[in-house]
Amino acid sequence: MLLEVEKLAKRFGGVTAVDACSFGVPEGSVTALVGPNGSGKTTAFNLITGYARPDSGAIRFAGASVRRPDPVRLARRGLTRTFQQARVFAGLTLVQNLVAALQQPWWAAARHAVRPHEHARALELLDEFGLAGLAEERAGNLSYGQKKLLEFATVLMGEPRLVLLDEPTAGVNPILVEQIEERIRDLNSRGLTFLVVEHNMNLVMRLCDPVVVLDHGTKLAEGRPDDVRNDPRVLDAYLGG
């Protein structure tokens, strides 16, 4: 397991958003985290990536326990994420967006902002995402779908081991959905592990294995997509009251 979550819990006032939640992300997999709205998926993401502090529970990443999750340190260890609402550095160009995500030692801070080989690397990645033509455009001028692509490309600059995608295809047109799916498959075949929160069930069933289902902050089911799809408890959570 590349990522292990054990009995994670988080309360906001009287609401328990995540409750004794345990699951794992096998190395080399595209693991899905699904569940009805409000089942605690995004909160679980925030806890794993250090954007919120868990009340209890343990997280292990790449064999080492993460005592006090902190986004900067986790990103530098190879765990990174995208956000539900595509977040880009709107005032920076696409190339600058990507180069800003390169992880540098502190003494590199005095170096030139975008060095030639970094520019080339950014262009290469933009090309993979079909954005090379917009390389010098300001990211704020992109369409929503393009911002999603840019955000995806950006997290790859740091050469992560595990990428958490929060609804990568929400609000994106079908052609872009295909493109994003293709990118995930391609990167996964090259060894990158994904944990994906996604509402598009067709996509989840095609792309992800295993699938983890959350409901009311706890794990309801975990397993191969077909098994999970036919699990009566899962059907109940989605369709029943």
Partner: protein, 336 residues
């Protein structure tokens, strides 16, 4: 070297040359005095911009460190003795670096807050330092203020060394901004300004970047405070830590263009002489403040994002229009 950076160097060189030549061409002491004040505000605004303009963290407390710089020089005069004439000016880099370092723990705590809260937290710094100046009697003589020895410069061109010192500090601030903007540090600061949470998720060391920018900004600010104290030879708590100076520097940055290299300097070049002119014309009746704010409001109405960004947009639009017109003409020629 790229064409853009060569053009930047030429611009900076021309500005420096004009700045150095000014007091040798103009001898009237009162004009050189306005020049010193203009350069002081330009340096303060540029230093403020280096931190607040690039990170988006609006600090209203930088002037506390202007005061600390001033008092550090005054106290050193009294207790250590750092000579006379030009010597104290050469001690300034140490004062700047020291005050900057001393401010880092405070900054580290203040930077745990953001937006409005950060502005208010830094604003309190200003009053904390002022209260310290009032109450640490044995060091600062409290409200009776501190005398610094009168420099032994010739009476004819007494202002000139101070003018050149302020100019050197402005050039230092501009140079730092220029270097930072072109470096990875600058990219980190801009990423922080755009979306700090996202930057953290990408592994950008946001706290370190903010502290380095803060340290550079405070070091320049404290040095400006030192020159100012030596120039006036008398400081007291209300003058050394004056909220109005802080607000002035911030307004000039907004006027010229926040987050741009030359914006704060342009803002100071417009506002300080305007303020001084209005002060001499209308000073007797407080009307000059009305005139001062009128200048500011007119510019904000016409150029809401500040002088430089608005001009840049206008030029961009004009170029765009020219390009589309050019296309249309060539198309109509092709049709004919």
């Amino acid at each position: 070297m790229s064409r853009a950076s060569a053009a930047g160097l030429v611009r900076g060189g021309a500005f420096a040359a004009a700045g150095v030549a000014f007091p040798f061409v103009v001898h009237a002491a009162w004009i050189v005095n306005i020049g010193i004040l203009t350069l002081m505000y330009a340096a303060l605004a540029t230093a403020w911009n280096l931190f607040s303009g690039y990170t988006g963290y609006i600090s209203l407390g930088q002037i506390a460190f202007f005061g600390l710089g001033a008092y550090t020089l005054a106290v050193t005069f009294e207790h250590v003795g750092i000579g006379s004439g030009y010597n104290p000016l050469f001690a300034l880099p140490l004062v700047g670096a020291g005050v900057g370092l001393a401010s880092l723990p405070v900054a580290w705590i203040a930077l745990r807050t953001r937006h409005m809260t950060f502005a208010i937290v830094t604003l309190t710094l200003l009053f904390v330092v002022q209260q310290l100046a009032f109450n640490l009697h044995s060091l600062t003589h409290g409200s009776s203020g501190m005398m610094l020895p009168t420099p032994t410069f010739g009476i004819a061109n007494y202002d000139r060394p101070f003018y050149l010192a302020m100019l050197a500090l402005l050039l230092l601030a501009l140079g730092l901004c220029w270097i930072v903007l072109r470096s990875k540090l600058g990219l980190m600061l801009l990423a922080i300004r755009e979306d700090e949470e996202k930057a953290r998720g990408l592994g950008v060391r946001v706290t370190g970047a903010k502290l380095v920018a803060w340290w550079l900004s405070i070091a320049v600010t404290a040095m400006v405070g030192g020159v100012w104290a030596y120039y006036l030879t008398f400081i007291y708590p209300e003058s050394a830590v004056d909220p109005l100076v802080m607000i002035g520097a911030v307004l000039m940055t907004f006027l010229g263009g926040r987050g741009t290299l030359w914006g704060p300097t342009i803002g100071a070049l417009v506002l300080v002489p305007a303020q001084q002119y209005l002060l001499t014309r209308l000073g007797a009746s407080e009307l000059y403040l009305v005139g001062y704010s009128a200048v500011f409001m007119v510019v904000l109405l016409v150029l809401p994002r500040g002088i430089l960004p608005s001009l840049r947009d206008a030029i961009e639009r004009a170029r765009e229009r020219q390009r589309t017109r050019g296309k249309r003409i060539s198309r109509s020629q092709a049709a004919a």
